[in-house]
Assembly symmetry: C2
Homo-oligomer: 363 residues x 2
């Protein structure tokens, strides 16, 4: 569900009010929140997501080890409330850093010196309030495009994703406030490569197959993940992920599905447990005669296969363990674009429709 701005403001006000109460009662002002370090990050087999455990930390004002971090958290909370939420404006992590980077009055000490300090304070606020960065109006990167039979409303504009030519709609960093007016699609196809998106868009794949096509260029931004999640949760659309046939493709898929260690505290706002991997799989290699387009694995690839295959969420997954073993046996990877050797539109006219029809997915 899209965030209500009022909630974010109220949460931050509440945080401030609690501190004022503590001060009035003559207590040492402190904030309690779930710990975000590795020992408190668990893979929850029930919800199938990475999340934070029950360990709590406190940050107190009258504590030499805590005082600066305490101040940073409060200053960031105050900046977000006054400069962003009250004005309805949004900002980036980097901008917030510059906004809070000032000298503490009466000293020559900077409140923050490096961006990781303000970033951590924002993460603190996420776990304290249970709100996402985006709900606090702090946006992540902007990246990616989307097309399909969907009409949305955003900032007063009605935008039809099926009428945007060769470019598509540029996905903003923050999709909390967009409203879906009409969604006519059977599924969403997310691909890591913009060049593949352009192929599918030119072939009007989304029109012929009642699909929504989404791509980034490399990194799956939080904006894209939330967009996929909203379509999955609000419209129960299946989400399929199309990546290169290599360990990095498997990892891109796993981040969308299970979350990532760095963002474990935001899992429930970002992960999509039902997402499925459509390809390229190691089985596709025989089936579509792609061996001649093998790219040899290097040391880094092998190390990454070992690491990813041992992740909690993969280690008991037989289908994926079989894939990892095949990668090692083949000693090679293949790219999505290798399908172009079978014909320029093979991916949109044959490969994807067949996979969808036969429900050939990895889970």
């Amino acid at each position: 569900m899209p965030a209500k701005q009022g909630n974010a403001k109220n949460s931050l006000k509440e945080l401030g009010m609690k501190l004022i109460e503590q001060i009035k009662k003559g207590r040492n002002p402190e904030i309690v929140f779930p710990l975000r370090n590795l020992s408190n990050i668990i893979y929850d087999t029930k919800s199938k997501t990475l999340k934070l455990g029950d360990k709590k930390g406190t940050r107190a004002f009258f504590n030499v080890a805590h005082a600066k971090k305490f101040l940073q958290t409060i200053e960031v909370a105050s900046t977000i409330k006054d400069k962003l939420l009250d004005s309805g404006k949004h900002s980036s992590l980097r901008d917030v850093f510059y906004m809070v980077k000032k000298t503490i009055p009466g000293t020559n000490i900077n409140l923050v010196d490096d961006q990781p300090e303000s970033d951590k304070a924002i993460e603190d606020l996420e776990v304290i309030t249970g709100l996402s960065r985006e709900q606090l109006h702090v946006n992540a990167n902007k990246n990616g495009s989307v097309a399909g039979k969907v009409v949305i409303e955003d900032k007063g504009d009605t935008i039809d994703w099926s009428k945007l030519g060769s470019g598509g709609w540029a996905i903003p960093s923050n999709v909390e406030e967009i409203t879906f007016k009409k969604v006519s699609a059977k599924y969403v196809l997310y691909m890591e490569k913009a060049a593949v998106w352009e192929r599918l868009n030119e072939d009007k794949y989304w029109l012929k197959n009642d699909a929504i096509i989404v791509s980034s260029q490399g990194q799956t931004t939080r904006g894209i993940r939330r967009l996929l999640q909203r379509l999955y949760e609000e419209y129960e659309l299946p989400i399929y992920v199309l990546c290169d046939g290599d360990i990095y493709g498997a990892y891109i898929y796993s981040v969308i599905k299970y979350g990532s260690i760095a963002l474990a505290h935001a899992s429930e706002r970002l992960t999509i447990p039902g997402v499925k991997y459509i390809g390229i799989t190691m089985d596709d290699i025989e089936k579509y005669d792609l061996k001649k387009h093998f790219i040899k694995l290097d040391e880094k690839d092998y190390a990454r296969i070992k690491q990813v295959s041992e992740y909690d969420w993969f280690k008991d997954n037989k289908a994926w363990q079989r894939q990892f073993k095949m990668m090692k046996d083949f000693k090679a990877k293949v790219e999505i674009q290798a399908l172009s050797s079978r014909g320029i539109s093979f991916v949109s006219e044959k490969y994807l429709p067949d996979k969808i029809r036969n429900k050939e997915f990895l889970d």
Copy 2:
């Protein structure tokens, strides 16, 4: 002007016909084209662009050193003609590589083994035909967004860049075939950072200032450069570039203005001699009190300053030499976002309007 597909087809046909004629006359089939190596790349002080000189190379079929490259060029030409131009479809460098990667009949030799081979063949075709990669339907990367009071037509869709909410129109890799229907803007502002674009878009900068705002995320793609160039040439709109105050910002600007060594053969289709640099300049640092946001230069920065300041197109430019000297004297760089310390919308409400009003540009 947008490319005519017919021209590209005819150029490739002509290339084939010439070869057939040579064969019929019993001659050794050969192709002649301008050399693209460093010795033939010159900075033309008159047109103020990097371009190719007069040195020509030939590639002949009956020449052991040329035969494979000759075949590659012809195979790529044939693939582009048959698979792309005839079908009206577009493709990427990587896809073309896979399309031409096959075994030469009767041998066990691959026509191409690595992508640089097919890439070079495509560059050959660009210089042979005088057409761009995009006109040959081989697209570069997709990246970036645009907003402003502009209406375009693309693939049968009418797209209003002023009605696309917080996302904007996603710029395609190829803008040759879009048609401008209405352009109501006084200038175009291109920025390297998507986060700054989101700031300006949220503040409706383009509406309040009659501007078109364009951003990439990092790399200025060929699609973006051509889009800027078309607005500059077809609508005589000034183009201003907004980057971080560092040597990389200066270089981003210089590539848009003068071209790059790697793409010298495509200069006239990509460079914009009239483009101006709006900031961040070294003078802004004093003026806007940004010294406290200095980021110290490292060895790599100094080396790059030396290199860029010695480029032909910068070495006699006093204004820029002064900037480079100031960078070294400050021993530091500043980011655009440092302006956020002056207020979240300082960049859109004060910094940019002042600069435009006072015509404070670097040329």
